[in-house]
């Protein structure tokens, strides 16, 4: 088989038409699907685009910059012969870059180590290592109750006005690997506001995490379509750090909702048949090509872990964006408006939250031996208490059985003492200790998930947790 010849750049004068973010060009010779395009013109700013549909008669180009003021007939369109790439390298650590990788921090561009295509390729499932190593995020609701594991994708389901992005920033700042292995964070801001951007950049600069962090910032005022690139640029950077340099990389993306809206915008401009709520029918597959880039490889020391933030439109978890995300990711951390209003931070509702890979990342070898029992017991009593709360609203707390009444009181303590931690990092041992001190306020025979062995070890040896 002869090697694919690298086609040279070809230039065309004038596009046939433009619609929204799309440009339609007539009779392009050997246009390639995914080919990178430059759009220039006298008196017009330079724009970049990508071929998304090639045809003998019409080729469709998706333009990443704002198309406002674009005059298709006068544009010069260059098919570059290359697909979209990004510069990767260890020297990106510590940098703040635009959503497509241009420096934003006033420093010269990085030299980098390679240019890699941003679209990635699927990891061969037989080369995946099943994730099993704990990552400490410093957040009790995650570390204790819904443990994050290297190679996992665990989204934060937030709502408008809820501090999902703040929680993500806490994680960026506080996360560390279990045994001090090489660790880095790639933060991809997708369509976030100027205010949020400023907060993060200054926060990360002030703490000492900036040197192990790469920031990609696509702001709300940046072109919508660029949002389709930013997560992929970030993931390509992360994969390179992980699988070439053996670093454990945490990729935090905020906000996937903005990404999905950009996807819908392109689909509508192409006059595609819309799926649910106007989102394209291939959104599941498209989101999967982002989230599935998390993983651990068998013969490689690094890993890519993802914490995407999803803002639930109207707090609706059945909305297509969180719904499809939930079908791809390995669990979800759900924020609650009610907890937020009561001043609990982070306002994580542990009942609908879930980490599917938790079991693989906890226990004697990873966290503490009794982690599973501890979490199950807290969960069970909290769930019972929340149910009792509903019932108490009808029959009054006097009408409750004594066990239900105790569980009801437990709900308050659980939310205020365990889930609430302000903005302060909490280590896993502290998380476990506080959990135990809550559990030990209850009669032993109500702690049905705690085995006698665990209980004996807890109360027999040290009673430190109780007294502190």
């Amino acid at each position: 088989m002869k090697p694919l010849e690298a086609p040279m750049a070809r230039t065309y004068a004038g596009a046939a038409s433009a619609a929204g973010p799309l440009l339609f060009v007539r009779s392009t010779r050997r246009a390639k699907l995914g080919e990178w395009v430059r759009i220039e013109g006298a008196g017009q700013r330079n724009r970049r685009g990508q071929v998304i549909d090639v045809g003998n008669e019409i080729t469709v180009i998706q333009v990443f910059e704002e198309t406002l003021g674009l005059r298709p007939a006068e544009a010069t369109i260059t098919l570059t012969g290359e697909t979209a790439t990004t510069l990767v390298g260890k020297d990106l650590l510590g940098r703040a870059l635009s959503g497509t990788g241009a420096p934003l921090d006033g420093l010269p561009a990085s030299i980098g180590e390679a240019r890699l295509p941003i679209w990635g390729a699927p990891i061969n499932p037989v080369r995946r290592q099943h994730p099993s190593d704990f990552i400490e995020t410093g957040v009790t609701a995650i570390d204790g109750m819904n443990t994050l594991v290297r190679g996992q994708k665990l989204p934060v389901f937030s709502g408008p006005g809820l501090p999902g992005v703040e929680l993500a920033a806490d994680i960026v700042e506080n996360a560390r690997p279990a045994r001090g292995e090489p660790f880095a964070v790639v933060f991809a801001a997708v369509g976030i506001t100027e205010r949020e951007t400023q907060t993060f950049v200054s926060r990360f600069r002030e703490s000492e995490v900036m040197e192990r962090t790469v920031l990609f910032l696509n702001q709300a005022s940046d072109p919508t379509i660029e949002r389709l690139l930013t997560p992929r640029v970030a993931l390509t950077t992360a994969e390179h750090l992980a699988f070439t340099h053996g670093i454990h990389v945490l990729v935090v993306t905020a906000d996937i909702t903005h990404y999905a809206e950009a996807l819908r915008e392109v689909a509508a401009a192409r006059e595609e048949i819309p799926g649910r709520r106007g989102y394209p029918g291939y959104m599941y597959t498209d989101l999967a090509t982002l989230f599935e880039r998390a993983g651990v490889l068998k013969d490689s020391p690094g890993s890519v872990t993802q914490v995407p933030v999803v803002t639930l439109p109207d707090d609706d978890i059945t909305h297509p964006i969180p719904d499809l995300t939930g079908y791809i990711t390995e669990g979800q951390i759900v924020l609650s408006r009610e907890l937020h209003q009561r001043g609990v931070y982070p306002p994580v509702d542990v009942l609908p939250s879930l980490s599917r890979l938790m079991n693989a990342g906890i226990g004697k070898e990873h966290t503490v031996a009794e982690h599973r029992e501890w979490a199950d017991q807290l969960y069970a009593i909290y769930a019972r208490g929340r149910e009792a709360k509903l019932m108490a609203a009808i029959v009054g707390s006097e009408g409750l059985a004594p066990g239900d009444r105790r569980a009801l009181e437990f709900v308050d303590a659980f939310e205020k003492e365990l889930i609430h931690q302000g903005g302060v990092r909490r280590s896993l041992p502290d998380t476990i200790r506080i959990g135990w001190s809550l559990l030990q306020t209850l009669p032993r025979d109500e702690l049905t998930r705690i085995s006698d062995a665990t209980w004996g070890a807890r109360t027999g040896g040290t009673d430190a947790g109780k007294s502190s």
Binding site: L4, G55, P122, F243, Y282, T285, H319, D323, I394
Partner: protein, 578 residues
């Protein structure tokens, strides 16, 4: 003749011309990299092709070559234990060629061309044979005899048949007309394999999950839909069945699902042993893996590929279970491709032929008498997860499934949030196979199986009514006998239909354990009711002791089961004295 060239590419779809001579569903090689594709529409001299590999980088004017056949797989020894992608390429082989990430344009045979198999003929020279007749056997895996069949549609008198060691393409026999036979034969995956006749299902497929075996059983040859929103445990159920359920051959299709989950499957299946035979479960398993980020057209193919393997082993006289996770992703692949073809959409954007395609697929399941001699019966049981958007079952894929399946295992997010697993909603789930399988269960489990099943269902229904009342007036306002029902139902939920997929002795429940737990529950209700009738106060019953006893039986190792059952009987009999 002019070579066909690409005139359009969009997503997984390419168009090429001139290809007027091609047949529908003919396999073609697309572009310089020879990506696998399939003709799905012909209009004048333009062929529309769905491409099974990543199309990024395909350009206009690249060549398209015909292969003359449709998407075909090789059927023969060596399928068991293999791990394949959606079009049947071994994933280990792909990793050897292209490393950790999958690169498009690699051709690899499904069956190892080098492997040699020891063939023992059972048909003799001079015999006249036809499609489905057994030529001989190969021990494919320890204890698993692969019956080498005359390919459907061929017939003749055997001029020569050899015993010995052969590769899958060597000639093992020749017909008098000179045509050769080998250990393998090709089959077009979209075509169902022929059989002599369909048989009614009357033997249960033992799932090892109490909620299914007791309440919602399925027969060998049956079909089940398992819909549930995300986080309701579809995948854990599919995996538990693949690991522990009783079937000769398991075909697990990971269709459009998570890569890490597939890594877990590969990891677990590689080290687990089949409780019935003590052999590695991979010995009886074929894994088809097409994760959500792998090409969408191959997702469509993966389901037909798995079905073809299942029918092939069925034809040898085996019971094969297909576990598909998830059929929704397959349906979405159809939708995605239909949208690219600008077909008129039906409900929710799915193509109008969705229900038709789905029922044709489900109907490939069944218990059958195979073609050929000696006479054999085999079965394909089809269990497919469905992922309804938002957990709402009123969507096309769930609804189209319900029109054809014999059982519904409905998973419920509320139960999953309560950590009730398997999160099977006993109010909406059903099985049309309950009566057909009841005789078998009565013989193998216990004579009163039907009664216990009915009593358990009645208890759960009564519980639901009572909980609605208790929600209004409080539990303390209920009568003692109603509180006993609540307690019995709680035991049913936690110890009878609740099952821990990660506990070594609870992950699989033998028919005997299922029976005894149901019987103990009935004993508990009977004894408790008796005590209350004699004036014992509800508070005086030693419920904590009973719960401990149930828990012990639930997680009992097989060797301790009998003793713990006796102990539980004693605890129940003595519960009022505490």
């Amino acid at each position: 003749m002019t070579e066909a060239r690409i005139i359009r590419v969009a997503g997984a779809i390419a168009e090429a011309r001139p290809l007027g001579e091609a047949a529908l569903y003919e396999l073609v090689e697309v572009g310089e990299r020879r990506l696998l594709g399939e003709v799905i529409r012909l209009q004048d001299d333009i062929a529309t092709i769905q491409v099974f590999e990543e199309t990024s980088g395909l350009s206009l004017e690249e060549p398209v070559r015909r292969t003359g056949s449709s998407l075909t797989t090789a059927l023969g020894p060596g399928l068991l234990g293999s791990i394949l992608d959606g079009v049947g390429r071994p994933l280990e082989g792909l990793a050897d060629r292209s490393g950790d990430f999958i690169a498009p344009g690699t051709t690899l045979p499904t069956l190892d061309p080098e492997a040699r198999w020891s063939f023992a003929p059972t048909a003799a020279t001079g015999a006249t044979v036809a499609g489905g007749d057994v030529l001989g056997v190969v021990e494919e895996r320890p204890g698993i005899m692969h019956r080498v069949l005359v390919p459907p549609g061929s017939a003749g008198r055997i001029a020569d048949i050899q015993e010995g060691s052969f590769t899958v393409s060597d000639t093992i026999a020749t017909f008098e007309d000179g045509s050769p036979l080998s250990l393998s034969h090709p089959w077009a995956i979209r075509e169902r394999r022929p059989m002599r006749r369909r048989l009614p299902g009357d033997r249960p497929f033992i799932t090892g999950q109490r909620v299914f075996d007791l309440l919602f059983p399925v027969v060998e040859g049956g079909s089940v839909a398992v819909p549930g929103g995300f986080g309701t445990g579809k995948t854990v159920i599919e995996q538990s069945l693949a690991k522990y359920a009783k079937a000769d051959v398991m075909v697990y299709i990971g269709c459009g699902e998570r890569g890490n989950e597939m890594a877990e499957v590969l990891h677990d299946f590689g080290r687990l042993t089949d409780p019935a035979t003590g052999r590695p479960i991979m010995d009886r398993t074929i894994l088809i893996v097409n994760t959500s980020n792998m090409p969408v057209a191959a997702r469509d193919a993966s389901v037909y590929l798995g079905m073809t393997f299942a029918e092939y082993y069925r034809d040898m006289g085996y019971h094969v279970a297909i576990l598909a996770d998830s059929l929704s992703r397959w349906a979405e692949a159809l939708r995605e491709i239909a949208a690219r073809l600008q077909e008129m959409p039906g409900e929710e954007g799915y193509p109008t032929y969705l229900a038709n395609r789905m029922s044709r697929l489900y109907e490939r399941a069944g218990r059958v008498e195979s073609e050929g001699t000696p006479s054999r019966t085999g079965a394909v049981t089809f269990i497919s997860a469905v992922s309804p958007p938002g957990g709402d079952f009123a969507e096309p894929v769930t609804q189209a499934s319900l029109r054809v399946v014999g059982a519904l295992w409905a998973l419920d997010a509320r139960l999953a949030h309560q950590r009730q697993f398997p999160a099977v909603d006993w109010d909406t789930s059903y099985s049309l196979y309950a009566e057909a399988s009841a005789s078998w269960f009565s013989e193998e489990g216990g004579a009163d199986w039907r009664k216990l099943r009915a009593e358990t269902i009645r208890l759960l229904q009564r519980d639901r009514e009572l909980r609605e009342i208790a929600g209004l007036v409080g539990v303390d306002a209920l009568e003692d006998d109603d509180r006993l029902v609540l307690e019995g139902a709680r035991i049913a939920r936690e110890f009878l239909i609740g099952q821990n997929a990660f506990h070594p002795h609870d992950a699989f429940s033998s028919v005997s354990k299922t029976y005894h737990l149901a019987r103990l529950l009935w004993e508990f209700m009977r004894t408790g009711t008796g005590a209350l009738e004699q004036g014992v106060a509800f508070e005086k019953l030693d419920l904590a002791g009973v719960r401990v006893a149930f828990g012990a039986v639930k997680t009992a190792a097989p060797d301790d089961l009998d003793a713990l059952i006796v102990e539980a009987e004693r605890t129940i009999a003595d519960m009022e004295v505490a």
